[in-house]
Symmetry: C2
Subunit: 359 residues, 2 copies
């Protein structure tokens, strides 16, 4: 570990914090400095269970992490309903902020966090890991190659997994007071983000929720979907997200000259072997009995798993601010805000009975 | 060739008739008996270009094929606008009818054909080839296995290919007087059919066209899509069809315990090697850094290409009627009619500006 590594404090002992603490360890320019939970016992147990070195500070409150002057950056995997309170406070305490998705319950809430980060000069990023892997960069390179891919015409994305009875009883992601956005906020975040990523974050003109919806007894969304359109461009996108279906993470991109299919875009099948299928300028064989070419598998290797690449990128941006007094990079604020904005529109369309909502 | 093979007459020299004439040759219980075109020279050229044996009768009109008492069954790859006229006449001449998709310009038109087939006791089938391959049967077997797959929750399908400038100028499929349904009728037929196939032909409650559409200058649809819902079932489907995108034929089926992905469901990559991807009871590896299992490739072999299996199945049904005086099998009428009914609803939803249309 470098002497100058960015020191992370983690607020909250969510499952995902286990993966991210390992990522902080793997990333070359970061170090885990502190962990805080509302209960010191829970924090201690978390540290032991995850083999944290003895040097990691253990705190029995979130506030102590934020008050520790040695903490440069905070990773915040709290229930969404707590994001505004703790996100704003972290920024005010001059902590750079890596926050779990969904970033907030609404774009109005997110704006409070973003504004606090801006006015306190701290870097902001949400915890969407797949954006940081070179596979994603490679796909975008191909999408941008007009010769190869042509205009992008259709995007389809899914993010689903099926859960145990225990999850539906106890998990924060289905509790109206903790994560009222349910599957839309949790897994739908990826679908919306992927569609925006594919369109270079051009906001759709209209969002229309798909006319099928599952909610739990408390009204939290367990499955939903939406279509997006961009008006005159004749570009269209659909997504489906669910806590009730077997694992799927499809991102399908259809262009005039090529298409890309990736079936594990959020969490790769294996962390050291990432690929996608590329089909380009395909036609039919004589008599239309087959294709002139099968999709080609494009492999993209990386030194580190995507979550460590995320930490590395975030820590690099923090270094720029901390060591070189640069302004934080606004790109990640914009990405999160647009994702949240579209998420809000899908939520509104659902409320309105699947009516189109303009953006 | 069996002595008792079903004798086919082909009406019209469309490109697809080349593939189907080969299929008639490959199928063990059928033989090509006659070909008719509005021009005898065109019919002769077609026979020579496709190496038809000298025994095949060449006619300079459709009517002569229908009047030939040795023709048992007619394959009709005419422009859709001609289907009612020639389909009804074929049935009245007691010819069993294999008709290209889309079966008609509307369900009202199709009903005239179906009624003519019923009242004349002839077998009806549309030319959807993929339904006849054992890969399709195998997928259905898995879908029906509740343990393996669970309830089917989401279906996504595409049918796209990109065409030459010549196609957009001259092809019947983009001419308002010949195939006014354009891409919706031609390639959309497959998507709608696949969704209905997956749901055991349970009609959706509502059809809502996707808010993105391409038409040519004459108003013919070049790209469109739709979502379907089944009301209380919380089941949802989306499709996208286009003449403007690179080849795609995705059928993605998402259930609570499993999923199926097939990327070449309409025309297989290669006619002798068909497969689909099956994912079942998948969860995440420790720390959510990967999947517990990658999709499994299920290979399904067949003795014949799917179009020959279609001819074989159709000829078997014709034999039942011809030799054993059985009533024609209504199943294929029902499949075509439901597909056409939903297609009409999508067309209406587009006309209404992407409003939901009940069924």
């Amino acid at each position: 570990m470098e002497e100058n590594a960015i020191r992370f404090g983690i607020i909250g002992c969510a499952q995902i914090a286990r993966k991210v603490s390992r990522a902080i360890d793997l990333s070359p320019n970061s170090t885990l400095y502190a962990i805080g939970s509302r209960s010191i016992d829970k924090a201690k147990k978390f540290a032991i269970d995850n083999d944290f070195p003895d040097t990691v500070k253990i705190y029995g409150s979130y506030g102590e992490v934020l008050n520790d002057p040695n903490v440069d950056a905070v990773y915040m995997p709290l229930p969404t309903s707590l994001h505004v309170q703790w996100g704003v406070l972290a920024a005010e305490k001059k902590k750079h902020l890596l926050i779990e998705k969904p970033t907030a319950l609404s774009v109005a809430d997110l704006d409070l966090i973003l504004e606090a980060c801006r006015s306190n000069g701290v870097q902001f990023m949400d915890g969407t890991m797949w954006l940081h892997h070179p596979r994603t960069t490679k796909m975008k390179e191909m999408l941008k190659n007009t010769q190869l891919f042509g205009p992008l015409q259709m995007i389809h994305s899914t993010s689903t997994f099926s859960e145990t009875e225990e999850f539906f009883k106890d998990n924060i992601r289905v509790k109206p007071d903790l994560d009222s956005l349910g599957a839309l906020g949790d897994v739908g975040w990826y679908c919306i983000g992927a569609i925006l990523w594919a369109t270079d974050y051009k906001l759709p003109k209209t969002v229309t929720a798909l006319p099928a919806l599952s909610r739990n007894q408390e009204g939290v969304i367990l499955a939903c979907g939406s279509s997006f359109d961009w008006g005159e461009d004749a570009q269209v996108a659909t997504f489906y997200c669910s806590f009730l279906s077997n694992v799927s993470m499809d991102l399908d991109l259809y262009g005039s000259n090529g298409s890309i299919h990736v079936k594990d875009y959020i969490i790769p099948y294996q962390e050291n072997s990432l690929a996608f299928d590329l089909t380009r300028r395909t036609h039919f064989a004589e008599l239309q009995t087959g294709w002139t070419a099968k999709p080609e598998k494009v492999q993209v290797a990386a030194e580190l798993p995507q979550e460590a690449l995320m930490i590395q990128e975030f820590a690099t941006l923090v270094e720029r601010v901390k060591k070189y007094a640069k302004t934080p990079d606004d790109k990640w604020q914009e990405i999160s805000r647009k994702t949240q904005l579209v998420l809000d529109a899908v939520s509104k369309s659902i409320e309105l009975g699947f009516k189109p909502v303009g953006l």
